[in-house]
């Protein structure tokens, strides 16, 4: 009954209103929490600058973060801010469900619009070519590893594994010589499916195909089977995946921060989580490499996306795009703005300034930004070098474009079965998951 109340209790609350003095009040997500003092100060300065440049608009920041538990209900009830921040897993679903609005027309008015990296914009774009958001700190998945455990296991931390066969060997060495988990694969809260997708990409797989405008799942491809076979061998032959097998991303990063994990698939951004959220003390042990490959030469991309929900009226939507351009697009283009932000953030020793991201524009522009923020960088950049050096050789692939979460939900139990049952039948598991997913996808595309 709690759910029925939650479902039906949403009402159409007025999302925003004009300010008392006639100003338009724009409510935006993305304000850092009060504990992040430099972040809050930076945000306030941005707001002040924006309000100065856009008289008649008052920006009201919100510290609300994306929570899958409440987000859908709040969004459906029209009770969200005029600018929302979501992870890259969400935009396609929100676009398909028409819960966000296209911002292409107004975004094109910005002089540097055409210089956006098309690969970064692709997951935010619908089939008609309309763009629905502005990305911040985009990343590509790689292999995060503990340099200290590498050394203890007799491995060279400056030469991380480049193939999945090498990952398997390294994981076994770490596991055998240190007793820690050599490699951890996430397996619950849809992250098992998400990680299997990226692993499958590395083996050359595709989990979804589009024909005549209709999407179907292709979970039974040979690369996906090989990827699962690798996990099965690592679990049951090598025993190198550790003891705790039901993990989501936070579980894994928490264990990694405590020095319990040799390797996992993650992005440079997980450094921020390990250090700031889970108190990783020996941050010098954090290393990251590009995604190891076994024939796919691809890696999955992600990041934070700022979007305008459908509940924002025309005036608020227009102001929202102005804010998106000012607060997120320009600082990723302008070296002055980027340096100013880095300086403000570096005031806090607990911060992580300089964590590499994918270029939102082009490589040359990103290089200029990197040079501008260099004096304020407080992370050990050389530990990120294998990642930044190797990334250019890989194709960046977005997540499955249609109902990715449905795929992930179906793949979680497949991953879990392989990790917890010695006799798990990979072919049968994938065939059953594919059938289930395709029934759901077909129903959604009637």
């Amino acid at each position: 009954m709690a759910l029925t109340a939650t479902l039906a209790g949403c009402s159409s609350l007025t999302p925003s209103s004009a300010g008392g003095d006639g100003d338009l009040v724009l409510r935006v997500q993305g304000m850092p929490p009060a504990t992040d003092k430099p972040g809050v100060a930076l945000f306030k300065k941005q707001v002040a600058d924006f309000e100065k440049a856009n008289p008649g608009i008052k920006v009201k920041g919100s510290t609300t973060v994306f929570d899958p538990l409440t987000f859908s209900a709040k969004l459906s009830g029209g009770n969200v801010e005029d600018v929302i921040r979501v992870p890259l897993t969400e935009p396609q679903r929100l676009i398909q469900q028409k819960q966000v609005q296209p911002i292409t027309g107004q975004l094109k008015e910005w002089e540097h619009f055409k210089e956006f990296n098309p690969q970064v914009l692709q997951p935010l774009t619908d089939s008609a070519g309309d763009v629905y958001g502005v990305p911040q700190n985009p990343y590509a998945q790689g292999l995060v590893y503990n340099r200290e455990l590498f050394e203890k296991a007799g491995l060279d931390p400056d030469r991380p594994p480049a193939t999945w066969a090498e990952v398997r060997t390294a994981a076994k060495k770490i596991s055998d010589s240190t007793g820690r988990a050599g490699f951890v694969h996430e397996s619950k809260d849809n992250q098992g499916g998400w990680q299997l997708t990226m692993l499958s990409y590395a083996f050359g797989g595709e989990l979804q195909k589009e024909e005549g405008g209709k999407y179907t799942a292709t979970l039974t491809g040979e690369p996906t089977k090989k990827a699962l076979g690798l996990l099965k061998d690592m679990r049951w032959k090598d025993d190198s995946l550790g003891k705790t097998l039901l993990n989501n991303q936070n579980d894994v990063i928490k264990q990694f921060a405590a020095g319990q994990v040799g390797m996992f698939m993650g992005s440079p951004g997980t450094y921020r989580l390990a250090k700031m959220q889970f108190g990783m003390e020996n941050t010098d042990a954090f290393g990251v490499a590009p995604m190891p490959q076994s024939g796919g030469d691809s890696t999955l991309t992600g990041g934070d996306i700022y979007m305008v929900p459908k509940s924002a009226d025309k005036k608020h939507a227009a102001a929202a795009v102005d804010w998106l351009t000012f607060a997120y697009a320009k600082p990723q283009y302008s070296t002055d703005m980027a340096a100013e932000q880095a300086k403000a953030l570096s005031a806090d020793p607990k911060s992580a300034v300089g964590v590499p991201t994918l270029p939102v524009f082009d490589k040359a522009r990103q290089a200029e930004i990197d040079a501008a923020i260099k004096p304020y960088v407080n992370v050990k950049l050389q530990n990120f070098k294998p990642y930044t050096d190797g990334l250019s050789t890989l194709k960046l692939k977005p997540e499955p474009p249609f109902q990715a979460q449905t795929l992930y939900t179906a793949l979680d139990p497949v991953v879990q079965a392989v990790l917890t049952k010695r006799d798990a039948d990979i072919d049968a598991l994938l065939a059953s998951a594919e059938k289930d997913v395709n029934a759901k996808l077909a129903a959604d595309q009637k």
Partner: protein, 316 residues
């Protein structure tokens, strides 16, 4: 006399109508009182109607609609129900939920009764025991689950460490489809037992001591006293708590959501977790509402059958 009698009669009669006029006066003020009562009731009824009944009606409507709760909803008839029955996970979720209910009955139901029976014999430090037994109820469920997650940790968890000292294990607990549900039941029994223990203890206090004494005089030992005196006296309380446990366990959500996310391999996927997935992961609000409604119907039916079957308990 003849005159007097009638003259008295009216006097007596004048007394008689008094009770008749009283109800008339009551009716007059009663209407006003009723109006006042209704005025006081209206806010509560409105709030109750708006926040309890309207959502239920709305969700019944949604179960026949395809909606994202933003665009106008489209009526789809029984499509949501058909989609539900086409989903193989429904059978898994129902089976798992019934398994949880069964294990709960087997382990979780007798535990508080046994504990209360033991505690009722304790005289010294009874308050301390009651406090200790009730403490888990006060702990927020998610905190308790996170604590037990550490107990269950297959590597460094408390249970495997302790069992290892006597040569048992290590066990996978949450990491194996065979033991995951049992692990959930053990935690939820620990977490929810305190309330039932207190209710049983309160009911046990109400059992007349003479009954035990009489039984003792008749030569009944402790087990006979429990079986023939205590349990029959507690019958209605046991019946009520059984129904409450059935309803609660059918609606299990927090444990599988926080402990295992429904895994491994869907072995702890329950009906409520499936409803949650439909609504908040897949955005299939219609399907979620349809399954919610089926669940409410099933629970109402279960309660009705149960109450009918156990009616004799409370009247005997």
């Amino acid at each position: 006399m003849a005159l007097l009698t009638p003259s008295r009669r009216p006097a007596a009669a004048s007394k008689e109508p008094a009770p008749r006029t009283l109800p008339q006066r009551r009716r007059g003020t009663g209407a006003r009182k009723q109006l006042t009562a209704w005025l006081f009731l209206v806010p509560a009824l409105l709030v109750f109607g708006l926040f309890a009944w309207w959502p239920i009606v709305r969700s019944l409507l949604i179960s026949f609609q395809k909606t994202n709760l933003v665009d106008p909803a489209v009526w789809v008839g029984l499509d949501n129900f058909r989609a539900l029955f086409d989903d193989p996970l429904l059978a898994t979720a129902v089976g798992n939920t019934l398994f949880f209910v069964g294990l709960g009955l087997l382990i979780g139901f007798p535990a508080p009764l046994v504990l209360a029976a033991i505690m009722s014999t304790v005289r010294r430090g009874a308050g301390v025991y009651r406090f200790l037994v009730y403490l888990p109820v006060v702990i927020p469920p998610v905190v308790a689950i996170l604590l037990w997650k550490w107990f269950y940790d297959p590597g460094s968890g408390l249970f495997n460490n302790v069992l290892g000292k006597v040569g048992l294990g290590p066990y996978s607990w949450l990491e194996s489809s065979d033991s995951a549900m049992l692990s959930l039941v053990l935690e939820s029994t620990w977490a929810g037992m305190g309330g039932a223990v207190l209710i049983y203890l309160a009911a046990m206090v109400g059992i007349p001591g003479e009954l035990y004494e009489a039984a003792e005089v008749d030569g009944a030992g402790i087990w006979r006293r429990i079986w023939h005196v205590m349990l029959p006296q507690l019958r209605s309380v046991i019946g009520l708590l059984l129904l409450v446990q059935l309803i609660n366990t059918v609606q299990v959500f927090t444990e599988p959501y926080v402990f295992t996310g429904g895994g491994p391999d869907n072995s702890t996927l329950t009906v409520l977790l499936l409803i949650f997935r439909y609504a908040f992961q897949d955005g299939e609000y219609g399907q979620a509402a349809a399954l919610s409604f089926l669940m409410v119907l099933a629970l109402a039916l279960l309660s009705g059958v149960y109450l009918r079957a156990t009616r004799s308990w409370s009247t005997s």
